[in-house]
Symmetry: C2
Amino acid sequence: MNEAYTLIRGAGLKLTPRRREMVALFLHTQKPLSPLEVQDHLKLHFRQCGLPGVYRNLETLADCGVLFRVVGFARERSYALCCRPVQEHHHHHHIICSSCGKVGQVDQCGYHEGMMIEGFRLVSHVVQLSGICDSCVSKEKEGFS
Amino acid sequence: MNEAYTLIRGAGLKLTPRRREMVALFLHTQKPLSPLEVQDHLKLHFRQCGLPGVYRNLETLADCGVLFRVVGFARERSYALCCRPVQEHHHHHHIICSSCGKVGQVDQCGYHEGMMIEGFRLVSHVVQLSGICDSCVSKEKEGFS
DNA sequence: CTGCGTGCAAAGTATTTGCAAACCG
DNA sequence: CGGTTTGCAAATACTTTGCACGCAG
């Protein structure tokens, strides 16, 4: 999955070991991670690894479309891999499994820039869904004692 | 507009001067405010007014449905008055004018608990819209020099 | 080689906690 | 009156900045 690499290079950014490892982590984990969690993982691979650098890279990767910023009201931020990053300008949202954190992509949302809603001209919108994924539903059923 | 008062009392909470003033502020401002902004306003009315108390009351008022928590990725949180609080369990979302901060209510969103999306069973969802309200659109046009 | 990327130290800012005093109902 | 609410101090936690060194291209 070097789509991410394409995006990074395409944005004129360097493909450093740190960034490769971050992409690999998100690709492997498939769920939202906080800066601290990312750092914890990186520490296993690099002797030195500062949190500020992690923050900077997360922002960088979000800017170039590899990651997306999980919105919420909580104090701690988190990021997740943006599925299908190749279709750069394709409008979509994400659904996150509240049990295992798996991220899915939702293409339909019914909103588009410029539409009129309640006397407002829509400029942007945030949609974030939370649900239970198939495999967690199955687990739930099994767990029925 | 003592709908808010009803909600507060209904939740078994006390209707203190502080809370009355907070409700009045949001009612009058009609836009999202950060804890600090709320405190700044309260200081005009009360000699003493700690920020921790403001945080606590904002959370309290959000919990009982008077306010809603504005979601986003930013570091600073903010709250706004939840319009039509009376229809307690009526599902709706908000649209915020990016120019003046005015808040509108959106009743339709196409999502409902339990629906299936992309292999997930939807449990909850966040929808927040940002747009330009009628009056700001008009202003824009006038400003056309 | 050149400028982006990174580490580290330190600062900055938002939010939370604990407890005693005040007050609503 | 009793439990909720509040102020204050201080602690926490998260995030950002600045600068020197290192490495990708």
